[in-house]
């Protein structure tokens, strides 16, 4: 007696956490952080798996994040190929089942079901073997491995596999001859008549000086049409028993797909889709890492991080991506980003939010190293650059939203404000900004506040000033570097030194070589 193998989910631990996700709506901050573009691209070529809901659902606990990170690590350290191959085979199996449904001719339909069964069995067996050879270190794949091991041994699977193989082998050995002359088609058994092309080649082979090019005309489709169906009807009479069992196979096994395997097949696409999306970025030399996440520690930092949506676009255009570092230690809570426009301030704000959200999905995040807060919610307030008809109305509308955010945010939230409350005089903006940042400081939430007002960067110990920089010789050219420094205009001097490799760090590094 074999036990019923334990159900599992490759995405969720516990398994039930994944229920009732499917009609989840897109979070409000997706558009502001450009995550809507990112996940559209991630899931784009995989519509059939309906993955969007997974990317809209942040995980609540560090343990569940680690569960996915471990699965990602297993995939990246050797399972990718096997899992992708499995997924590919499952797609083929499904398309064959679909083809079977569209066939009128009984033998043809049955053959498609048989092919689907063969692909499915091979895919399951190959994955089971790959997993047991690989010895996954993630809980997720360990469960998968255990399930598949039991499933492959089950009577139902064994019967399916054996039956499939027997009939498939039989059909594979069912050679036949067709003589075509005019409109008459005669079918007979194959009696090892010699290959005529071999005879022709043999006649002239002695002239051969070098390998010959192929002059075969490529036929892009299989020969399968109503003439072939009529031919097969006659071939069936050459092998009556075999074709009878083909029909009965089709009756018995039409619904062979195991629901747990099917669920795995869908859920594992979450990982493949994300990895496929970041692959070109990695090839372009950008780093991704698995962040340490915590629901309590507010000390966050990241090295060489970047805006994933922008990087994806720049990489496609073969353009350089600028990376940035950030760090909040001890009592530091809020980045106030100021400096020249078009210098990467908004991009910095986005990447801070993206990083935390991607981390909460259990995904590898942009950067060489990162430690992040597993926040309860992310709030984004980005100025909408639409035509402003009524400054007063716009400011009022903004203040209403900011109030909402401040009401709903907790000390575990992340708040990102980009050029907020700027639809008024500088004096007003300073005042409002001071108020809002003050409240955020009181709350203890983490935040990024992008503003053109330098003074806001000097509001206290929990505020960290970040400044966008430009190339000193040519202020029109942006470096897109966001540096931690006082917002007092001295950025240029430091940048000059850096450009010539003469900063304190650069000089040490060069001399120390």
């Amino acid at each position: 007696m074999t036990h019923e193998p334990a159900r599992f989910s490759i995405l969720f631990d516990p398994i039930d956490a994944g229920l009732e996700l499917d009609d989840r709506e897109e979070p409000a901050f997706f558009a502001d952080l450009n995550l809507d573009q990112v996940f559209d691209a991630v899931t784009g070529s995989r519509r059939e798996y309906n993955l969007a809901a997974f990317f809209r659902s942040a995980l609540p606990t560090a343990a569940s994040v680690v569960y996915r990170q471990d699965v990602f690590r297993d995939i990246e350290s050797g399972l990718a190929e096997h899992v992708a191959a499995f997924a590919e085979q499952m797609r083929r199996a499904r398309s064959h089942l679909k083809a079977a449904g569209q066939r009128q001719a009984r033998y043809s339909a049955a053959a498609w079901v048989l092919d689907a069964g063969e692909i499915y069995c091979a895919a399951v067996i190959a994955l089971e073997r790959a997993l047991s050879d690989f010895r996954p270190s993630s809980l997720g794949f360990q469960r998968c491995s255990a399930y598949l091991a039991a499933y492959v041994k089950s009577q139902a699977f064994q019967q399916l596999a054996n039956e499939t193989m027997r009939i498939k082998r039989g059909l594979g050995q069912s050679g036949y001859c067709v003589r075509v002359r005019g409109s008459r088609v005669v079918v007979s058994d194959y009696r090892r008549e010699p290959d005529y092309s071999v005879e022709v080649l043999a006649t002239f082979n002695k002239f051969q000086q070098r390998d010959a090019d192929s002059h075969l005309v490529k036929f892009t489709t299989d020969f399968n049409n109503h003439i072939q169906e009529r031919i097969v009807e006659l071939v069936a009479r050459l092998y009556p028993e075999l074709f009878r069992s083909l029909l009965s196979y089709c009756e018995t096994h039409r619904a062979f797909l195991d629901p747990v395997v099917a669920r795995f097949d869908r859920e594992v696409e979450f990982y493949l889709a994300y990895l496929a999306y970041i692959e070109p970025l990695k090839s372009a030399g950008l780093s991704f890492c698995y962040p340490d996440v915590s629901t309590s520690s507010k000390e966050v930092d990241a090295e060489e991080t970047f805006d994933i949506a922008l990087a994806s676009k720049l990489t496609r255009e073969n353009r350089h991506v600028v990376c940035n570092d950030f760090r909040l230690s001890q009592g530091e809570r809020i980045f106030v980003v100021s400096g020249p426009n078009q210098g990467g301030k908004t991009t910095f704000a986005r990447s801070f939010g993206q990083l935390h959200y991607l981390a909460s999905l259990g995904c590898p995040v942009p950067g060489r190293r990162a430690q992040l807060l597993l926040c309860d919610r992310i709030f984004a307030h980005f100025e909408k650059h639409e035509v402003i008809e009524d400054l007063q109305g716009k400011l009022q509308e903004e203040l209403l939203r900011v109030r909402e955010i401040l009401r709903d945010a907790t000390d575990s939230s992340i708040v990102i404000m980009n050029e907020s409350l700027a639809s008024t005089t500088a004096e007003d903006s300073l005042f409002l900004g001071r108020e809002v940042i003050g409240r955020l400081m009181e709350l203890g939430a983490l935040g990024v506040y992008v503003t053109f007002i330098d003074e806001l960067s000097r509001l206290g110990a929990s505020v960290v000033s970040m400044v966008s920089t430009v190339v000193p010789d040519n202020p029109a050219e942006r470096t897109f570097k966001i540096e931690r420094m006082l917002a007092d205009g001295r950025a240029y001097a430091l940048a000059i030194a850096k450009r010539h490799g003469l900063t304190h760090g650069s000089i040490k590094a060069r001399i120390g070589r």
Binding site: T203, F223, H226, I227, R230
Partner: protein, 504 residues
């Protein structure tokens, strides 16, 4: 069926890459002139001549194999030219057939049948030549070639070809075998040769094999289309086979043409030299293990072809010396002499005749040239970079057993630097087994060689008579210091040197 007129064991590759040093050899040795005379302006002959001359043979046996074939060609040039013309005619005839561009297997097949008919006709003519003239040839290469034609192209063989060409019309329909693939599609479609050609009446009765059949309805257009696709798939393999077969036969003609093209080039070159009154001879190749280099009446064939006369011939005997230093007056024939040695070595290793009454040398692993370029007269650091860069490339390419011809190398800097660099480079090359022939004005350099290895170096000097006139003869003789440098040299170096032999 291999042609084997160039090598005894393999096809001559007339499309091979030229060796890396080829551009330098062509420029420094004046090979362009030789190639022009060999090809007479024919692109193909030029291409073959370049490969034939520059892609050297490595073994004396291989050289002699070609020398013997060349002797046959020199004895019967008209027959060689006739066979060559036959190969050219074949390619022309083939081009005249209107080709189908890979649209359907049937079209490919029809085209291939037509081409094959032309090729068969040409093969028969080639066989006729072998029958009529084969016995006039005595070299192993040509004897084997003609014997092969007679043996392989018999009447029976032509009958088999005809039978195939007939059957490929498929007057009795096609018989194909297939297997069942995805969704019971037809896979592995192969055209079969029927075991027995059944008499027509059996088709009416339908024997046991033919009981399963159907007719496609005359108005079922899609059905008829499917049927012709099935036939096309069946014919595909055999159309490919026959097309490849035509390419094989054609390839034989192309190969034959290329190998004969080399000998045609040799005939042309010899006509050019003889017409200007210059003699050639077949050299005696020695194995690499017997280092030697000797010549009688050696001249520069490129110069001979250009000037048409008045070219000075030189004699030379370099026993086992690794280094030959050639010095002497400007305009004294040193460069010409150096070129003639390089050309003779190359031509010998191409299996050709050489521009000398006698020539013998061991085979080299490669001939290399490092010539001062005419346009490089200014002595700037850039020029030194340029020439040392070339030398560095040579060092990348040359192997032990190679020959390097240096013409005023290391001259684009001052004498002391040039001598020092030259001493380092040439000393090292000699030590790894590279023979160096050096034309130089660097007195300091030649003196250092004389001091260090008096027995390993042969010193030659361009003759300059007392009245200052040149004979263009190169004779054995040590370097002389240039007049203005001698005093200075004596002044500085005399004390530190062993007593000069001249004073004894």
């Amino acid at each position: 069926m291999k042609v084997l007129l160039m090598h005894c064991d393999r096809n001559f590759d007339w499309q091979q890459e030229l060796p890396a040093q080829a551009p330098n050899l062509i420029q420094d040795l004046g090979l362009e002139i030789l190639f022009n005379h060999m090809s007479g302006g024919d692109e193909f002959l030029l291409q073959v001549a370049q490969r034939g001359v520059l892609c050297s043979l490595a073994e004396p046996e291989a050289i002699i194999y070609r020398q013997q074939a060349l002797s046959d060609c020199l004895a019967h040039p008209e027959i060689v030219r006739a066979i060559y013309n036959l190969t050219v005619e074949t390619l022309v005839e083939k081009k005249k057939i209107f080709g189908w561009f890979s649209q359907t297997p049937e079209q490919n097949l029809r085209y291939a049948v037509q081409v094959m008919e032309v090729l068969v006709r040409m093969l028969k003519r080639l066989r006729q030549v072998a029958l009529e003239s084969g016995t006039l040839f005595h070299s192993p290469a040509f004897k084997r070639f003609f014997a092969m034609l007679l043996e392989e192209l018999g009447d029976e063989y032509f009958a088999i070809i005809n039978e195939h060409l007939r059957r490929l019309q498929f007057r009795r329909g096609v018989l194909i075998s297939a297997g069942l693939g995805k969704g019971n599609s037809a896979i592995d479609i192969v055209l079969r040769s029927p075991l027995t050609e059944k008499p027509r009446w059996s088709e009416l009765i339908w024997g046991p094999r033919g009981r399963l059949w159907f007719d496609v309805h005359p108005r079922d257009d899609a059905g008829h289309q499917a049927l012709s696709e099935l036939q096309a798939r069946g014919v595909n393999l055999v159309a490919n086979a026959l097309t490849q077969s035509t390419e094989h036969v054609l390839g034989f003609f192309i190969q034959l043409r290329a190998e004969l093209a080399f000998y045609l080039g040799c005939l042309n070159l010899r006509t050019g030299l003889n017409g200007r009154g210059f003699e050639t001879s077949l050299p005696e190749p020695k194995p690499a293990s017997e280092p030697s280099l000797s010549a009688l009446g050696l001249y520069d064939p490129a110069l001979a072809l250009v000037t048409g006369g008045g070219v000075v011939a030189n004699d030379l005997a370099v026993a086992g010396k690794e280094l030959v230093v050639i010095t002497g007056a400007n305009q004294g024939g040193k460069s010409t002499f150096l070129r003639s040695i390089g050309l003779a070595q190359l031509l010998m290793q191409a299996g050709m005749f050489v521009p000398a009454t006698e020539f013998s040398a061991n085979v080299a692993t490669g001939v290399f040239t490092h010539f001062k370029r005419e346009e490089d007269k200014t002595m700037t650091r850039g020029k030194l970079d340029e020439e040392l860069n070339r030398m560095s490339q040579i060092v990348d390419q040359i192997r032990p057993g190679g020959i390097l011809l240096c013409n005023e190398s290391f001259a684009s800097t001052n004498e002391r630097e040039g001598s020092e660099i030259g001493h380092q480079v040439i000393g090292a090359l000699n030590e790894v087994g590279v023979k160096v022939l050096l034309v130089t004005h660097l007195f300091d350099l030649s003196q250092r060689f004389r001091r260090e290895a008096p027995d390993g170096v042969l010193f030659l000097r361009a003759e300059r008579l007392a009245d200052g006139s040149r004979t263009f003869k190169i004779r054995e003789g040590e370097a002389l210091p240039t007049s203005h440098g001698m005093d200075l040299y004596d002044e500085i170096f005399r004390d530190g040197l062993p007593a000069p032999t001249a004073g004894d």
